[in-house]
Amino acid sequence: MGSTTAGAIAVAAEADSTVATRMSAPPSFDVADFPVPHGREEEWRFTPLERLRGLHDGTATATDEGVKVAVEAPEGVTVETVGRDDARLGRAGKPVDRVAAQAYSAFAQAGVITVPKETVLTEPVRIAVHGEGGTAYAHQVIELGAFAEAVVVIDHTGDAVLAANVEYVLGDGAKLTVVSVQDWDAKAVHVGQHNALVGRDASFKSVVVTFGGDVVRLHPRVQYAGPGGEAELFGLYFTDRGQHQEHRLLVDHNVPHCKSNVVYKGALQGDDAHAVWIGDVLIEAKAEGTDTYEMNRNLVLTDGARVDSVPNLEIETGEIVGAGHASATGRFDDEQLFYLMARGIPEIDARRLVVRGFFAELVQQIGVPDIEERLLAKIEEELEASVA
């Protein structure tokens, strides 16, 4: 087993943030603004570039049968497919690395889902993204008008090489819960950036669930458009033998009096299972009254797995309510198994107990019952596979 945990709290006096300067190029919509990564850059050093199937170096060409997208939306929701020049695209943030910029530069059409102001949905919007075995670039915008409320579930299944960005634009007082499930087949590669722009007094809850795929690398990012905004970023991953699952988060407290809470938990099992978690929180000088906490926990179930967990909190003002971070990687080993079995608990139940207990608190916070049930069932399935 390998494990590294590095944490940092930096108090920066200058306007130049190290979160920004650690990147090899400034954010841009144009892929040409990013050099082809060679793997030693800070933002690529954990990622197996050779397994990205050319998404990072311009050699991956979109195919006819890439992914199929099906949207199921309750009444009152507008679902559109728009051209690249649509003015509603690109408002929530620019791509921060070469693959996100590649996706933005290469998509042919974008999806735009709009929940009009003051519309409160009682049923979720469901977006099914099914990989058809090809390569695809995609872009999706989900916008909630002022005081609108919605739950959106984005479900990724099948096999694909996909670079895709998602934007969440929340109007004032809007409430959005979005669940992105990466339940890919074993060979899939999925890289993308999720940008949320949280309006004044709006609440954004993101749940990122990663089970499948060969390589999954996501950038969930949050910025605020006005004071009083809240962001909760929850993540759950189950990294199996040979899988690379990487979640790189940024919460940019760029306006005063906003809150953020980040909790990511992962279980790993099998040789060369590799999970990477980067949690950047930036509290800008003008963001007085910020309240933020971020946490990453990992549970290593077998030998041969590796975790890299790097929380990074950067504070440019002392006028805040609270700021903290935590990261820990624990191990489920033979002695723990013996202890539980010595109390009469069969091996499969012992593993189940440990993993369920580990994830339970997080699963309960999702607030979408059918997703919670599916997650628990999926966790069971992963465990059965490991014991068999």
Binding site: G330, E335, F338, Y339, A342, D349, V355, G357
Partner: protein
């Protein structure tokens, strides 16, 4: 009446690329309701006996038999032994991340009893058992053994003993690392279980101190991988006065 019979038990362990025999023919019979103290110097194999009986994978049984009510214990997996009525209170209880004490106790009781205890009576049962051991109710929400002090770990072991009601309880150096107050609380817990008359107790200890609180029916001196001498409680007094020297010099192979 439940009986644990150990006959000519030989156990080896792999260490430094070599196989080392630790138990060299242990014979012992423990009946329900009896308390046997096993005393011996460090390295005599006392803990190996405890862990071998519970089925720890580190130890290899190379000879002999162990039966509980005639059933072959050595054929059973670790969890089967526990469900058959064997309980090992460990010297170094293991931390289990992500599992709360309350969840652990209920899962364990469900496995051992063969059915989930009724929630209402169960909550009361746990609460009362914890009170008797002077345990803070908040304890139930902590993760198993995570961040527990030495005394808390031992109380938690005895709490399990009280709740699981085994036929045979093996207490492996339960007294080590306890101050006098904690030792008394833990001993009282053991005595409550003993007073039911339904448990056979194998009390493994280095010190005679715990025997002031838990009175054994039989005392065995363990040395060099086997029982060197057996007697009544008076044997403990002799050890208190003379130490283990008579058993370690010359005859010991380690």
């Amino acid at each position: 009446m439940a009986t644990l019979e150990i006959r000519d038990l030989h156990v080896t362990v792999e260490a430094d690329n070599a196989t080392k025999e630790i138990l060299k023919g242990v014979d012992l019979t423990v009946k329900q309701g009896e308390t046997h103290a096993i005393m011996g110097p460090n390295g005599s194999g006392k803990s190996t006996l405890a862990y071998s009986l519970a089925g720890h994978p580190k130890y290899t049984i190379t000879g002999g038999t162990v039966t509980l009510d005639g059933e072959d214990v050595l054929e059973m997996s670790v969890d089967e032994r526990a469900r058959a009525g064997l309980f090992l209170a460990m010297q170094y209880p293991v931390e289990v991340p992500g599992v709360s004490v309350s969840n652990f106790l209920r899962t364990s009781a469900t496995a051992v009893r063969g059915e989930a205890p009724k929630l209402r009576t169960w909550v009361k049962e746990v609460k009362e058992a914890m009170q008797r051991l002077n345990m803070d109710p908040a304890f139930a929400e902590r993760n198993v053994n995570e961040g527990f002090s030495g005394g808390e770990k031992k109380r938690h072991e005895i709490l399990q003993l009280e709740l699981l009601k085994p036929k045979m309880a093996i207490l492996d150096e339960t007294d080590s690392g306890l101050d006098v107050d904690a030792l008394r609380v833990v001993s009282e817990g053991v005595n409550r279980v003993r007073e039911t008359g339904e448990v056979g107790t194998l009390l493994i200890t280095h010190y005679t101190r715990i025997l002031r609180y838990i009175k054994p029916d039989h005392v065995h001196v363990f040395a060099a991988g086997r029982i060197a001498e057996s007697g009544g409680p008076e044997l403990a007094d002799k050890l208190e006065a003379e130490g283990y020297e008579a058993y370690t010099k010359g005859g010991a192979s380690e």
